[in-house]
Symmetry: C2
Subunit: 377 residues, 2 copies
């Protein structure tokens, strides 16, 4: 028989974040709902799709302003998306919620009155408990960067489930994040400032994408706690919990060829846009193939679609080492890799027409993007 | 063997507008293309889906700035959406186009070079000629208003094709625009300032929706020319041509009941949002039904979804004439009608539980919205 009132605009923000964990396609119907728990300390909202869970605590006061007034502690599960739509459209600045012992929930605001059938919160799955010691703390900006530089390269196919996640390897106080779909590979390295135990886990790519949407730069830092098969990200009043992927992540170090034949220094923006234009025809050709040929400082990109026509782009390299080469690649992989390189100057190392090539920011070894070529020549 | 160069940003704007007439689903393949004609006066772009056609003239100079330089007049048809994507992504501020006698078209800008297979412009259908006398001139704002107040009510079903259009009736220097899908009806009247011949035409709703997207308020007025089975809208450098629907539009005047039982004066905003909230449950119920009951100045709205719950909304009327009534209606029709009433105060006239009811802006007879109730009581 819970009863509380809450400031509506603040409630909406927190509900929207909780909703990010909820999937309309779930095998467990109660997981389409949001669990709402009123305690003497405030309100706790929980959403989950059983892969990821989000738990948000709304305190009674924020910056000295009263947000929540709990008249009677208790809890209920209400239909998620639906409940959030109602709260968004209510007329008043405050909303009152009260439940009866059948979990019927009365929602009132202004001259508006909704009566919803709620569910028994005891039926809602318990969230995994993750112990709160041995945290890895990262600045939000850095974590957003790591996600942007690796997560795009995870596999979308379930043939090898471990490849749908990003491998986080912590050893000797260095974090190495690796993602690959076996056509391209992204690596981001980060020296850690604090001492932290070695770890080797695989975080699902989808979870990292959702986490990225929730992290705003209102907060400076995020705390990350690892358990045997779960990881907890804590940012401000939000707990974001994801299961870890089981299995062994492949050793990718042997994929890197050694001793490049050709190394080009290119302007990232110019190179990206030339590929973007060439990809217009590559897409129509159906296979996204772009041909690249180097000759001194001139890099020529070309693509053909038999029905529509041809395109030729020229980019001038700032630096060139080595001779001439022709190579073909998937334009999408190249554009993804260039976007992940957070630098105006990009270095491309080629090892031969049939060998993977490597992209890096100039004078920076923290990001490496590797792409397998396509056999056309 | 056309050849010209053109300022790219200006070209993009005009191409985007031309594209609005082009449908990827067309029975005539050449209509997926844009016809480009270079003359000594400038460039003419044409797009068409055979129902509507858009013809845009780009003059050599705009506001004293040179936009186009034609080296050799000529014409070609290029793949529409594809060509526009290329122009958008080119690197330079200028684009050069030149064709050979096989309609192969070379497009260059900066270090970028596209070679597209064009089509013979003689294969492109001729646009209907609409004579340019006896124009109806309307301010853009007024035409946008007329479209917003009527077009939503056209039928989306092809069972009675005339109902997919808006009836424009000009008689005794008054324009009367009527749209109905046989569940609700929208009428907008406008006194014309100039003498104009009587007309009775049906303009396709889809054409009016596209026209609405093209009319910006950069221009003040639009000129409208009627031919036997076409209508031409001319705004600035754009000719927008639509075919008219054939057939007789039904006489809708007999639908209007007389002598209301109850008349309510309501705040449009409050009433709209109360219905919007009630419709959350009405939608889930599957049929959008909202019940309304009046009692003195209190209007109660309610809706029920057996699975989810119930909602009750109260709105206080500013004015009430007549007694009590219960009536049910489709929430979407009501919200559409209220949106079309461009006034803070709306008057609702009820003629009985089973009879259509009428919405009007307060003290204004130019807009009338009629809705048929749903039998539930």
């Amino acid at each position: 028989m819970m009863e509380f009132s809450i400031k509506r605009d603040y409630f909406i923000t927190q509900l929207n974040d909780t909703l990010k964990a909820i999937s309309p396609r779930t095998t467990l119907p109660i997981l389409t709902g949001i669990k709402i728990e009123a305690t003497n300390e405030g309100i706790v909202l929980t959403g989950s799709d059983s892969e990821i869970s989000i738990e948000i605590t709304i305190p009674n006061e924020v910056d000295g302003e009263e947000i929540v007034e709990v008249k009677e502690p208790g809890s209920v599960v209400l239909p998620g998306r639906f409940f959030v739509d109602i709260i968004k459209k209510l007329p008043g600045t405050e909303v009152k919620l009260s439940t009866n012992d059948q979990f019927q929930t009365l929602i009132t605001s202004g001259h508006s009155e909704f009566n919803l059938s709620g569910l028994d919160p005891d039926q809602y799955p318990l969230l995994p408990q993750v112990s709160s010691d041995d945290a890895l703390q990262l600045p939000i900006k850095v974590l957003k960067n790591i996600i942007a530089q690796t997560n795009f390269a995870v596999s979308t196919s379930e043939t090898r489930p471990v490849l749908t996640g990003v491998n986080w390897l912590i050893q000797e106080n260095e974090l190495i994040c690796t993602a690959t779909d076996s056509h391209r590979l992204a690596v981001r390295k980060l020296k850690l400032e604090e001492d932290i135990e070695d770890k080797n886990v695989i975080i699902p790519g989808k979870a990292l994408a959702e986490l990225n949407k929730i992290m705003t730069e209102n907060e400076d830092h995020i705390d990350i706690f690892f358990a045997s098969n779960q990881v907890l990200f804590r940012v401000g009043n939000i707990n974001f919990i994801s299961r870890l992927l089981e299995g062994h992540y492949p050793d990718t170090s042997r994929l890197f060829p050694e001793n490049y034949e050709i190394k080009l220094g290119l302007n990232n923006h110019d190179f990206y846009h030339a590929i973007d234009r060439a990809s217009l025809l590559a897409r129509e050709g159906g296979n996204n193939v772009i041909k690249l040929s180097t000759g001194d400082s001139l890099v020529e990109l070309s693509s053909t679609s038999p029905e529509i026509g041809t395109v030729k782009e020229e980019v001038t390299a700032n630096d060139v080492e080595g001779g001439n080469l022709k190579i073909s690649f998937n334009s999408k992989y190249m554009m993804d890799a260039l976007k992940a390189i957070d630098n105006d100057e990009v270095e491309v190392e080629f090892f031969g027409t049939m060998k993977p090539f490597i992209l890096k920011p100039k004078d920076d070894d923290t990001v490496t993007q590797l792409i397998l070529p396509i056999r056309t020549y």
